[in-house]
Symmetry: D3
């Protein structure tokens, strides 16, 4: 960056970013990133570099990661099978072991190692640590005219103790959270990472919950990628769901979004990790790149709709 | 425990334990437990119950675990091979991934889940978190008349930042440490758990470093299990080593013991996890069950030799 | 304790005690001990050793002592007379001086000296210090057809400022309390030690109030020592009182127990200091040795009735 | 105070006192008051009112009291005898008990009760509490050609733990100290109150040590009350002692003064409690009323000699 | 002060002042001093000496100053004109600049410099600093049958953030406040110093608001200086105002007094800086020298009416 | 900023700035800005916007301002004369008053008002506040063959108490400092703002001292604006001075720079406020725009020379 032109750009961009930095400094962002991002070292690096910038300008960032593809991969290598029902993984003992190793072991450690390289002070944690998540094994779900669905070692959250996260954030450490959890008897349980992210965002009263996914956002028409919805509220989201316009993978996300907003999270963003710099663009420009979900569009004042995306 | 006799025993034992509790309250014990302990759920439970009692009477406990057998098992299931030189594992990329998943994922999580069951407030951490361990990849070791040994992704410790452990202990949380570490560029590295335990004990200026192993302790005669040494100092340990009387697995332990003591750890205990309640017996009785290593027996005052084992 | 058998006992007892320790750690126990205990150096030592163990395992112990026999002894040596009405001492100026010297001087100091020997960090205090107890001189009690009873320098408590006790407990110091108090004009007043203990337990929202007395506990039949009541609630205690089944010395205790429970103290224990180790047995075994008084037995869940005695 | 003249006096006096208040605010004064003061309720009140004013203007006041006459009185009433050698009391078991009751019980409590009346937040403490004073029983003193002197339960100070006093002062509480102390085995010991005051002043690095006595101060000529020395340093005090010009009661005071100054206390004042308002006059006027002892008069700058008395 | 008589006076005055000191220690006094006081170096010194004594005896003093005469003087020297309506200054751009320089520059700095000389730890601040005062420009006031009054750069207070003042007071610093303020767009605004003082006293829940003025206090009869009202409540003050008996300069003061009391300030004093020592006399004598305004005289208990003036 | 191109620029600039932000977060920058900047509202706004960005990204910014032109302007309006010797202002009583009003009143308040508008939490302070600067009046400077130079109310710094600044910075407040100071007797003194900035930078052990001036930086040839020196060390600066190559206005700056570096300030930057965005360019690009002065260029490692400008 040696030319005067380039240097002017840096200054102009800093001035552009300054009101966002002031607005978000000290606020909490809960970011959930799907396992696909971490299947590739370049993607991981590009994503974490963006996360690191958020952390460096003073945002209290909490990162929750998934690990579906990697779990499938290890299960396959070990000759295990994976089953999904309604977009949620069914988990037997071996699968649970695989998920634990992949999520709390491989992926969590890799993210922390990249944080070391990027000089982001970070610390790994899972729902099993220090009572962070109190969960119970989901009871088999009864179905009319069919056998109940037993999701195996799948947990539902009873409560989140966000105190340990607040202490880490106060110490300027970014928590990197694996969604593996357990019940009070120490049975290890798998919980959907979107669900964990929503529960933690609710408990931390986060300013934003950002879901980084493989999709561009929420689509008006499932078959038309150009039908991206930029701005939507809960009631419209409910209508989409009832109309069957949410893709399979989006169903648990929609439930998580609904849960977070109903517990006071102001804004939920769905962005695509495939789009370069989508995280920074979403946070530091008014237009963003994905879908922003709020409680009730009608209630927002014009001021609330800008300058924060 | 309903008879008067039984009740009298409880009281008598409490009175026996009281001076130990007073002596050790607020002191730091670093305990290293080999992977074998955690290969079996009953053994794990029995061991962690003892650890929990230490924590409950006010000792600041730091637990470091290994995971050799489990890593070997997963590597075998995945068709990988494991090589050892001088009692230390050689680690290629796949092995490193396996070790990461097993140590930081499977074993660490299982220990934390059992802590949840035993109501021990604990938190998992590895050398990768928040700069806990700064390490570098070990350069290939030159050998006369032979190819250099390249241990692969094996690390040597540059420094330990014990501050994060102290904060956890101050918050009444027991750190459960996986020895997986990394260098400043984020290359994940394997480090011998004994070595990690010794470095952490040194940095925390621990009162005790306790190594729970499959052996009964240090033996005078490798072939005679009854030749257990109860009490030894560094110079005598050096002599044993020079005389070739230390078993292969004991070699890295001896180096770790030497390192810890030379950095100010007062007492290092080698105990067998096979002996029931060996941890409690070692801490709460004068005789103990394994081998106690000190700096220099000659320098101890009679008072220092008792009542602490 | 050299045999394997003995050592196993220690371990077994520690495991037995561990859940109690976890349950009571950080909780407040207010213990009131009658003056008889401190009339004998062996008894004092045996009792304080038990108190010290409670303190060492992390219980926040507050000790209140009486001093009736010693006051009587000194009064006799000085040629003074002591009068009791309804189990409460009547206090003229000389008696008040004697009580002050014996309670705040002799007994309090002796307890602290034994604490020094037992390495229990403790600090003496009385109701006169720093506004701990705000009291007023009891007005003469009118009686039909008889002269009013003037209890002399006997006080009734207006309020307790427990803040100073909390600071001492936070500093890991055990308060040893003499019940001598005063009014806001500095008139020194005698207050029944059971009453002081109940008021302090109420103010500290203590987990337990333990009254260590010369009696085995509360008896069903005053004349039958074997009729000890193990477990009773407030309404049953009221019935006993109405039926005239409470001994003279037990009357003020019953009022204090009632007061403590009505202000939120969960459990009040009446134990005998004559029974060896009664304090430890009461705390660390389910059966205990004396009488446990609760608010309403019917309301307790089974879980609440165990494992804490 | 209704006339304009009177009101002008108040204002003028406040202005006079203001620089002293600024100078002494937050500084520590250790005041030792002999037992004679507390033998009379009017004297006690008059003295404590002055102490309270010092405390109210922001001085950190520590008060140590004696109790010789009262101990003698109680001993007499009980038919005991008291012996003095070299101005120090010899203490057998009964005497020790009497001293404990009188000093830690009667006098300490009375002072605290008056503090309650004067709204001085104060808390009683003795050398036995919480390791405040670590002492040992004085071994019998050998004498040439005579039997060794055994002072009985008389202690010599090993160390003072001033931390507990600092916490009380930080909480705006005035410590009222009885000199009764003990050894580490809990043997209760008598220590001269001047000696205790000097040791505590040294440990607290007090600005002033003030000894309030029955004498007007230190006299040039023992037989001439008008020969009061206003200002003296250590070497001159040593000369007086060698010349035999110190009265019996002044001998232990002189040793205490010497000890305090040699440990860094800047100024030691000897004043008479008989002179009305002597404490306030000593602190708030340049001239004072008694004897001021400093390390070395020659080393003082003119500024140091004024305006502080 | 060398005679015994003089010294006795100091002691007697200290005893007189002690209960006031105890009563006011740690309480907050907001003192507003008109610009006239600071037009003369001797007057300033005499007044600040009194303020310093209040601060030294432990009162949390906040000082707000005016600067009318000095502003007029500088405006005159610069050839500007000043207009007043209803006792409030009308402020154009040049006048605002003059007021800023005089109040926040000249007078504030001079007061701080005198504080340096008097060893009063003080720090200057204005309504512009750190959001201390959030104000808005007063909209032109409509009048029937006349053009609206535009007060120019005159502000009305929206809110006071007293946190910064509390931090300064906690650090033992006396805030010296210039009433210059601004709106959220940074337009500098003039606000009447009495109004600022009342708003700050209300926000700090001050014990006293003291207005030091050129007048002796509030008069019954404007033309009769001997008709000073010593004691008045709000309703009587309202009656005086309605009856037109308040002087021009007293009108904004009366509104400020009313505002302070309605927001919980207990006592407002109006005193004359012309009377020597009026501030100390008002605080440290029952009679005071000026007018004391309370909420409702009828509601005061006798105890509340004394001993505090 | 609606086009994709523009949005990409923001992201790219953020990535560029991130390592600088990480490097400087929590570090202290002392910025001195000459009075010329504040003579114009647009310039002030443009400069303060840059300062605000530094503050918002986590740098601890301390701003010191001058006020020469404005003082001259007011002095002229009042008919006073200003004299300079060796680039330093001579200050009589009237000039001192003018400087106080202009610097501590007008300019300081205007900067704070703009901070309010820019949402920069800031607080004004001068050397007179709370002992920030302890100075003495400069004694007349003797000259050979000429009358001594009396600079009037010009001060020289004895010491800086940076504690109050650290507290403000810890509270996230930016100190805005007027260089007006005083001696211990309260005589108000003028001190060169560069000198004050250097002394404060030294006391705060600032990472950078930045002098924003009317000149482009330090020139090799006074008459050739293109001869700007980018990088220089102390010895080279000394040579320039000896060779007479420093402009008059640069002489006190050179002394201040020398003083700051000799007291441990790592880097001093001289930049021109005339160049748009010069402050941001200097901090966030390697090349900068002005002159960087370091202790000794030869001692810098290559790493130290980059990436921080």
């Amino acid at each position: 960056m040696s030319s005067n032109h380039d240097r002017a750009i840096v200054v102009s961009a800093l001035k552009h970013a300054a009101p966002y930095i002031r607005l978000f400094k000290g606020k909490t962002f809960v970011i959930k990133a799907g396992g696909e991002i971490f299947a590739d070292i370049q993607k991981t690096h590009a994503f974490m570099e963006q996360v690191g910038i958020l952390q460096q300008v003073g945002i209290r960032v909490v990162l929750i990661h998934g690990g579906g593809p990697q779990s499938t991969e290890l299960a396959t290598a070990l000759g295990l099978r994976t089953t999904f029902i309604d977009g949620r993984r069914v988990t037997d003992g071996d699968s649970m072991n695989v998920a634990t190793m992949v999520l709390s072991g491989q992926i969590n450690t890799r993210i922390l190692a990249i944080c070391r390289d990027l000089q982001i002070p970070a610390v790994g944690i899972s729902g099993v640590d220090a009572g962070l998540i109190r969960a119970h094994k989901r009871p088999p779900v009864k179905r009319k005219g069919a056998a109940p669905i037993d999701y195996g070692f799948v947990g539902d959250i009873d409560s989140v103790d966000a105190d340990i996260l607040r202490k880490q954030l106060d110490n300027n450490l970014m928590p990197v959270i694996s969604p593996i959890s357990c019940d009070e008897q120490g049975t290890i349980l798998n919980i959907n990472a979107d669900t964990v992210a929503a529960a933690i965002a609710a408990e931390l009263k986060a300013e934003k919950l950002i879901l980084a996914t493989g999709a561009a956002g929420i689509l008006e028409d499932l078959d038309d990628p150009s039908s991206l919805i930029s701005y939507i509220d809960r009631s419209a989201l409910h209508k989409l769901k009832k109309a069957g316009k949410l893709a399979d993978g989006m169903l648990p996300k929609a439930a998580a979004i609904d849960d977070a907003i109903s517990h006071g999270v102001q804004r939920v963003h769905v962005i695509s990790y495939r789009l370069p710099d989508s995280l920074l663009l979403e946070v530091f420009t008014n237009e963003g790149t994905g879908t922003l979900v709020v409680d009730d569009i009608g209630k927002l004042t014009p001021a609330e709709q800008s300058p924060a995306s």
